[in-house]
């Protein structure tokens, strides 16, 4: 059985003559034509080689801009020795994975991860092996056809060459024969020293061509036949309920076809999920369904509605929330998450050399450029979903929970993702799409959130308040530290896994408390860390100032006890490259910060980065960031340009977070709804110098992710620079709110 899905743009044609002939989830926008795959030979479930030499590689991670898709294809191509321009990327079929006993995921050991970096150890090992195995079968096929020993066959750039005679064949000519060959023994992938593609070349990411000519297909571009649009609104105060509405008032409007109420109290099944997954619940809301999006949106705006806003309205304004957060720090903490030595006692004894500070980071919206949306077609016993989800495993479970339909009857189609930054991981948007679409069985429904709804129905970076107290020793270094962090549960690591509190400061205690609030929060690029790196790196800077020691020297001394040379390397590299200590004009200064994302409290884990911000504060008090320099250590890298792109982008992301971003609350509602009230850096605002320095890479065997770490270190680097330029210490974000005017 094949399931062709034809859009008006004829982009989704999913049909396969291989592998049992299920519908394939193609990665639209990739240079891919279904007929190629239909004609091709499936060497493994991961690789199809066409008679025309196209090599289709099935990719187990989404493409949200990190280049994970390209990375996976490069891993396969390195071993396969195919011709790179012939490579096409295709999403794995999640349905086939279910039907064929965890066919794909059983090998990689993981579903597509959050943003799909393509650098996870299981994915690297699997993809190299898959490529090597397919290459050996192609060589064996050629040897058998020509009746020569296999060791005389070389595979190179899509050709099989009999070296003694120079006889050659294209991969496409041998693919069908190779597909029938079983190897007696799996080949070992070649040593890294023999790589010719990985680490050597940085080809354009596979989706870029379709991006620049406008043919790329994101979730919002999907259009299965017969599709209707839905414009959705949810209760403006999270947790509130729809009380009444009057559909008759809009029924007559052009194109209107119906209305769908999302009622959280309808019965739903709940499946078992890992503890770290999001616990999504349906949010009370209503969608108007119409032939065209604009018709649905206009009718929704005209629809008379009344909400029962719930208890969230009791939060009158943002200040009230901030006061509650600060005051939570003065009461005993919920729990102690890290304890070394006896910090509280030492702090009590020390007296004068005690330093204390409080910090706060606000709620932030991910604001991916593609507004939330998704398309679903439900029938009695089957679901198809076209959706820009960033984590397929959570999406698949949510589809089952929301529809009650078994996984083998669910097909997920994964288009390109117009940005996630954590927003599209938990799948609450998947649930809402299904909750609407199931009211229109048999019709594909494309639900689109307006930008305002995307903003106000977020799963925000949680606000965190922190109080840090340290006692300095005779050498000026902290000998005891007590930190209390209050935020939304579940808080993720960041402060308690910082190197400082793991053997560098001899007495350290980290406590956390939950701030109960109705506003929904979630994962945001470097969860927890993106707040807590600001807190700890600002505080260490304050300690350095108190001790009268240069902030670079201070950090190097504290971290001399840390058994991971990457930290020192990052600090020294960035200091050398940015000219730390050089004389700057008046009102200019540099600030420094170091951090790590993904280390889980241990050395040689995740990615470490040190950043220096070169900042000017004008007499009028405006902050001008002239340069951001960053050195990093993620162990090893596979593609320097891809890593550079991630780091450049996340430095700018981090600059926007610290300088601009804050969501406000009024009577329980989120105030900001669009980019006119939630400022974003534009090209004119971005420092001309965004410098990524490669010199701190230690070559340790890990491949750390590089998308998050810069988001943490940029904020404190800028705040520390502002302090050195003005003497004013910024302990809350966003910095644009601070009064930095120089008084003559």
């Amino acid at each position: 059985m094949t399931t062709p899905l034809l859009s008006r743009r004829d982009f989704i044609v999913a049909a396969s003559a291989v592998g049992g002939g299920m519908a394939l989830a193609i990665l639209p926008g990739m240079p891919f034509a279904a007929s190629d795959a239909a004609k091709g030979s499936e060497l493994t479930p991961w690789i199809v080689i066409g008679a025309d030499d196209t090599v289709t590689i099935r990719v187990p991670c989404p493409e949200a801009g990190t280049g994970g898709t390209t990375q996976v294809c490069m891993l396969v191509a390195e071993e396969l020795q195919c011709d790179w321009p012939q490579v096409r990327a295709q999403s794995i079929s999640y349905n086939r994975n279910t039907r064929e006993g965890n066919l794909y995921i059983g090998q990689t050991g993981t579903w597509s991860t959050f943003a799909g970096g393509g650098h996870e150890p299981e994915i690297i090992a699997t993809m190299l092996q898959v490529g090597a195995s397919a290459r050996e079968r192609l060589r064996a096929a050629a040897a058998s056809r020509w009746n020569v020993p296999v060791n005389e066959i070389e595979a190179r750039a899509g050709l099989l060459i009999h070296t003694p005679t120079s006889r050659q064949a294209r991969f496409g000519e041998m693919a069908a024969a190779a597909a029938t060959i079983q190897l007696a023994k799996e080949p070992a992938p070649k040593p890294q020293s023999e790589w010719t593609l990985l680490r050597k070349l940085n080809p354009p990411r596979l989706h870029v061509k379709s991006v620049v000519d406008g043919s790329a297909v994101y979730g919002i571009d999907v259009h299965p036949p017969g599709m209707l649009y839905a414009a959705l609104v949810q209760c403006p105060v999270h947790g509130g309920k729809l009380k009444r509405f009057d559909f008759e008032a809009v029924r007559h409007m052009p194109g209107v076809r119906g209305v769908a109420v999302v009622d959280p109290s309808e019965p739903r099944i709940e499946l078992e999920k890992p503890a770290y997954w999001a616990r999504t619940t349906a949010q009370s809301g209503i969608a108007v369904v119409a032939e065209h999006y604009w018709q649905a949106r206009k009718a929704l705006e005209a629809l008379p509605l009344e909400w029962d806003l719930g208890s969230g309205v009791e939060w009158k304004d943002t200040e009230q929330i901030y006061e509650a957060a600060y005051s939570r720090l003065d009461r005993p903490a919920d729990k102690v998450v890290k304890e070394t030595g006896n910090a509280p006692k030492l702090i009590e004894q020390v007296g004068d050399a005690v330093i204390e500070a409080r910090y706060l980071t606000p709620l932030c919206e991910h604001a991916p450029m593609e507004p939330l949306n998704g398309t679903a077609l439900l029938t009695k016993d089957r679901v198809e979903l076209w959706h820009p989800f960033a984590m397929a495993s959570q999406a698949l479970v949510i589809v089952q929970e929301e529809t009650g339909i078994a996984a083998e009857n669910i097909e997920l189609h994964l288009p390109l993702i117009g940005g996630s930054f954590g927003r599209r991981v938990g799948g609450d948007d998947v649930r809402m799409v299904l909750a609407v679409a199931k009211k229109f069985p048999g019709t594909p429904i494309h639900v689109i959130w307006s930008r305002e709804e995307t903003f106000r129905q977020g799963r925000y970076r949680d606000l965190q308040a922190a109080r840090l107290v340290a006692a300095l020793g005779a050498d000026g270094l902290p000998k005891a530290l007590v930190a209390h962090v209050a935020g939304h549960d579940p808080m993720t690591a960041g402060l308690d896994d910082a190197a400082y509190v793991n053997s560098c400061i001899p007495n350290a205690r980290v406590e956390t408390s939950n701030l109960p609030m109705h506003i929904l929060t979630g994962q945001f690029r470097g969860p927890g860390y993106n707040s807590q790196c600001f807190v700890i790196e600002s505080f260490i800077d304050e300690c350095a100032v108190r001790a009268g020691i240069d902030p670079l020297e201070y950090r190097l001394r504290i971290l001399s006890k840390w058994p991971d040379p990457g930290w020192q390397a990052c600090l020294r590299e960035v200091a050398a490259r940015a000219g730390w200590g050089r004389k700057l004009p008046p009102r200019h200064a540099q600030g420094l910060a170091v951090g790590n994302w993904g280390m889980s409290g241990g050395p040689r884990e995740g990615t470490t980065a040190a950043a220096i911000a070169t900042v000017e504060v004008t007499e009028a008090g405006d902050i001008v960031v002239h340069a951001l320099d960053l050195a990093f250590d993620c162990g090893q890298i596979l593609n320097a340009d891809a890593v550079r792109a991630q780091l450049e982008g996340s430095m700018i992301f981090g600059l926007n977070v610290c300088r601009n971003e804050e969501l406000n609350v009024e009577n329980g509602r989120i105030v900001e709804g669009n980019f006119d009230s939630y400022p974003m850096l534009r090209i004119a605002d971005v420092p001309r110098q965004i410098n990524v320095h490669m010199g701190a890479l230690t070559g340790h065997s890990r491949y750390g992710g590089t998308g998050e770490v810069a988001v943490g270190v940029v904020g404190p680097a800028v705040a520390n620079a502002i302090f050195r330029a003005t003497g004013k210490r910024l302990r809350t974000m966003p910095f644009r709110k601070a009064n930095l005017r120089f008084c003559a």
Binding site: S7, R8, R9, G65, G67, N202, P204, R205, H207, V208, K209, V211, V212, D213, G214, S215, A216, Y218, I220, D221, H223, Y229, P254, H292, Y293, W294, Q295, A367, P368, M369, E370, P371, L416, I417, G418, G419, S420, F421, I448, S450, R451, D641, A645, E648, G649, S650, M651, I652, F653, N656, N674, F675, D676, M680, L681, R682, I683, A684, V686, R688
Partner: protein, 172 residues
Amino acid sequence: MKTELRVNGEPRRIEADADTPLLWVLRDHLGMTGTKFGCGIGQCGSCTVHMNGVATRSCQVLFASAIGTSITTIEGLSRNGTHALQRAWLEDNVPQCGYCQAGMLMAAAALLRQHDSPTDEQINSSITNICRCGTYPRVRAAIHKAAAKMRAAQGSRDPQRPRDPQRPRDPS
């Protein structure tokens, strides 16, 4: 209402409500989804098209007021993605998620039509699009690169052509 619009050089017959933004006419009625919905209030620039050659945020133009104009979208920027900007975008791996990039390219193409050798200041004032991935440094570099290539190509065709008259004089 029913009318004809000229899109990418071809007349297209369209039936849509008069108050539908041009953005949704293109995406939803013509199926040309290269032009993207980002904010709906003219802030982000993801929906940038050329209207009579001028970079325009199509979410802010109603269908009724687009009558009689000539529209160019990303799909019509060049044949087969061969505009110097598109080539530079590929060479420099500019896009990350890519969602805002059609708008960036259309804004940049309009800029290069006005100034064949844009200054950084001209880029700053013309490219006001939002990119959440932070591709700005590469966008700037690729605009300069494409401009240089276009000038070189133009120069080899027409060596007598005067330089951009609007380019400010070099302060040095």
